[in-house]
């Protein structure tokens, strides 16, 4: 993929992934650019989420998985890092909002606390800063002791984003973050992502092609081979992928002829 003057945040080389004996990803090679929004699109089951979860090694929580190939964060092999350290630098927002059954404050303070911050004043500042970045501060500032579960779906997801921001990551992974939300909440999340890209590298898996087209800078198109392994069909600037795709498959997927 042509990255022009942008630096590579995550470099993937000949990456293969197996769930036991089943190959889920085959020979993926791609560079994720820094401070850009990269979206991953493709039909169901082609390995997009598996690929995303590789970046913060969350796949390892499943027993029996194997990987081959390299993934490098800022040119450091992520498999030579402590996964706990990696996950501080690479945060994740899940498809269904999953706030902890604690107060809004404790939800966001959990990350910093886990990494050793105990001073109340410092925590309060981090909580406010994260909520502001997630465009949620004004809505909840009057009662941070309210349970995180008492918020609406869209607010919960922004809470989860704030929670991820609180540990000061460099990369934010989002696995279909708006698919469980209504259209208005979805737009709010998309606006939020645009603001975040100034400071963070964002990789987002989405089923919603309109979302990928309007909200991302770069797009990776995955497909499922006949043996159900996922592979990278085409990658490039979003505007090129959607208006002038090089591969026939890409063109077919974009125009809705399959997937």
């Amino acid at each position: 993929m042509e990255l022009n003057n942008l630096s590579t945040k995550i470099g993937i080389e000949q990456y293969n992934f197996y769930y036991g004996g089943f190959q889920a990803l085959r020979d993926i090679t791609i560079n994720i650019p820094e401070n850009q929004i990269t979206s991953i699109i493709g039909p169901s089951g082609c390995g997009k989420s598996t690929f995303l979860r590789s970046f913060n090694r969350m796949n390892e929580l499943i027993p029996g998985v194997k990987t081959k190939g390299d993934i490098r964060l800022d040119d450091f092999n992520i498999y030579e890092m402590d996964p706990v350290e990696l996950r501080k630098r690479v945060g994740m927002v899940f498809q269904r909002p999953n706030p902890f059954p604690k107060s809004i404050f404790d939800n966001i303070a959990f990350g910093p606390r886990v990494h050793g911050i105990t001073a109340k004043q410092v925590l309060a500042e981090i909580v406010e800063k994260s909520l502001r970045q997630a465009a949620l501060w004004d809505e909840v500032k009057d009662d941070l002791n309210k349970s995180g579960l008492a918020l609406s779906g869209g607010q919960q997801q922004r809470l989860c984003i704030a929670r991820a921001l609180a540990v000061e990551p460099e990369v934010i992974l989002m696995d279909e973050p708006a698919s469980a939300l209504d259209p208005i909440a979805t737009l709010k999340i998309e606006d939020l992502i645009q603001e975040l890209k100034e400071k963070y590298t964002i990789v987002i898996v989405t089923h919603n092609m309109q979302q990928a087209a309007r909200a991302s800078d770069y797009t990776l198109f995955f497909n499922m081979a006949e043996d159900r392994a996922g592979y990278l069909v085409e990658s490039g600037k979003t505007v090129n992928i959607f208006t002038n795709p090089k591969e026939e498959l890409t063109e077919q997927y974009i125009s809705g002829r399959f997937g």
Binding site: M58, L61, G91, F94, F110, L149, A164
Partner: protein, 331 residues
Amino acid sequence: MEAKTTGMKDNLARRRWIGNIFLVLLIIATLVGLLMLTILIIDIAVKGADWVSPQLFTNYHSRKPEKAGMKSAIVGSIIVMGLTGLFSFPIGVGAALYLEEYAKKNALTRFINININNLAGVPSIVYGMLGLVVFGRMFGVFNPNSWLVTTFNLPVGQSALGGLEFDLFGLSFLHLKFPFGRSLLAGSLTMTLLILPVVIISSREAIRAVPNSIRLASFALGATKWQTISKQVLPIAMPGILTGVILALSRAIGETAPLIIMGAFTYVPFLPESVWDQFTVMPIQIYNWITLPQEDFRIHLAAAGILVLLAVLLSFNAVAVFLRKKLEIKW
């Protein structure tokens, strides 16, 4: 309109009728259980209610029914249950955490699971024998002629039971006695073993009920496994775990056989002052009264004792329900 060829019958009335019959049968099944319980309770209440008096709580057992009470039994039961809870909680919850969160799903784990489930069904009297041998007599290693005593020249008492007493680290309040004999300590440890399988099983259920999305969110923030368990999983599972422990205790409070076997006494005219003292518990006191010839003992006082035991049981269950409601998380 086409002729009906699919064979579906016009049998709505018959289907409803069958459904109603089963509803009646299910109601009868429920009522049978409730009826038994009600008859039993009424019978006990009639026989014993008049005999529930303050002296039941303030007096020790006496040969005269008018003077007899179950003070030592009530205190003994409370202390045994307290100690049992204290021992079984960390061991049971710890085992449940290991099995649910750490252990790999292999043949060894499956073997452990099967064994724990089986142990939950072992008759309580077997635990009594286990407690007698392991805690009460400690396999006889503290007898004057045992291999342990002769090898290490331990200063045991000269009676047939032997017995080693010393102060741990020289501190007088850490005075230890081996073997544990017929003490509160031995009794509590025996009961701990009895309820441990149940505590492990119910704690595992509570831990399993914690949604996995919570663990994933915690890991994704860079928390270690233990941080995730201690700060997210355990707090969420705690209401279920506590309920399980309290319910296990409320069953154990009525267990007679294991404590009789490991040597709780039937006549204890004093209150225990330390865990090394002898003791008795409510079910044993009731059992003792039932065997006496006088009607006042065998019918009235025994019934009164049963009412007290039931009251304690109900209050345990009430505490369990209260705690569960209070700590429950509304998702």
